[in-house]
Symmetry: C2
Subunit: 132 residues, 2 copies
């Protein structure tokens, strides 16, 4: 009910963008080198455990993120962006551009983001993997 997609790309996009938390999680994965449940939790945004777990599950269902057991630490679980998730990057960049122009509180993106932007897609994943 309320809003079905039926062929509109904007409505489709709103399925992922149209809530308060998903895009922040994606941002953390994409630009901040956060990869663990605990890192999202303590990111200072104030998301609560149940909501975080719910969004992670939804994003995984939508094939935007992917979870794997951390090879290094036995217990931990690592989240990473899928191809589909990485392909959200142009949206992120265009939002950043807009905010940079119209929000005086927005800081200029960090250097590595500018750099990232100029790389071919194939290199972006490597750059992200080397973060932090």
């Amino acid at each position: 009910m309320s809003y079905e997609r039926n062929g509109c790309p904007i409505r489709f996009g709103l399925g992922i963008l149209g809530d308060k938390w998903s895009l922040l999680i994606i941002r953390d994965l994409m630009f901040k080198g956060r990869r663990y449940y605990g890192e999202f939790l303590s990111a200072g945004e104030g998301i609560s455990t149940n909501i975080l777990a719910d969004r992670l599950a939804r994003l995984e269902d939508a094939d935007i993120i992917h979870k794997t057991p951390d090879p290094a630490h036995g217990k931990k679980i690592v989240y990473c962006l899928t191809e589909k998730g990485l392909d959200l990057m142009p949206i992120m960049f265009s939002i950043m551009d807009w905010a940079e122009k119209y929000d005086d509180q927005t800081e200029v993106p960090r250097e590595f983001i500018k750099e990232l932007r100029n790389q071919p897609k194939s290199l972006r994943r490597k750059i992200l993997a080397s973060l932090k």
Copy 2:
């Protein structure tokens, strides 16, 4: 509470993207030639009058849209995008690209959208004004 901006462009963007209706109204203004309250209402999305009025007011507060009395018809009111609103276009395009790639229900954007995309920004407004 909950989520303040303090310098993050994504959080800033979520002010417009992070709800269910605003982006659909912007889409209607930007690509569908809808300009009147009544046209938004009967767009088939099922928005109700109070919500529509509220979103229009918010978008106007955010300087994304602008309302003027219709010079032609005495009673009507015309909504249009401001410069700031028009500058959301790259975000729209990037969402469309993503949806076109990953949503099999999404139809290829109509020809004029492709055309619009290739125009310099200065011409886009004119093209939009001639819509419908």
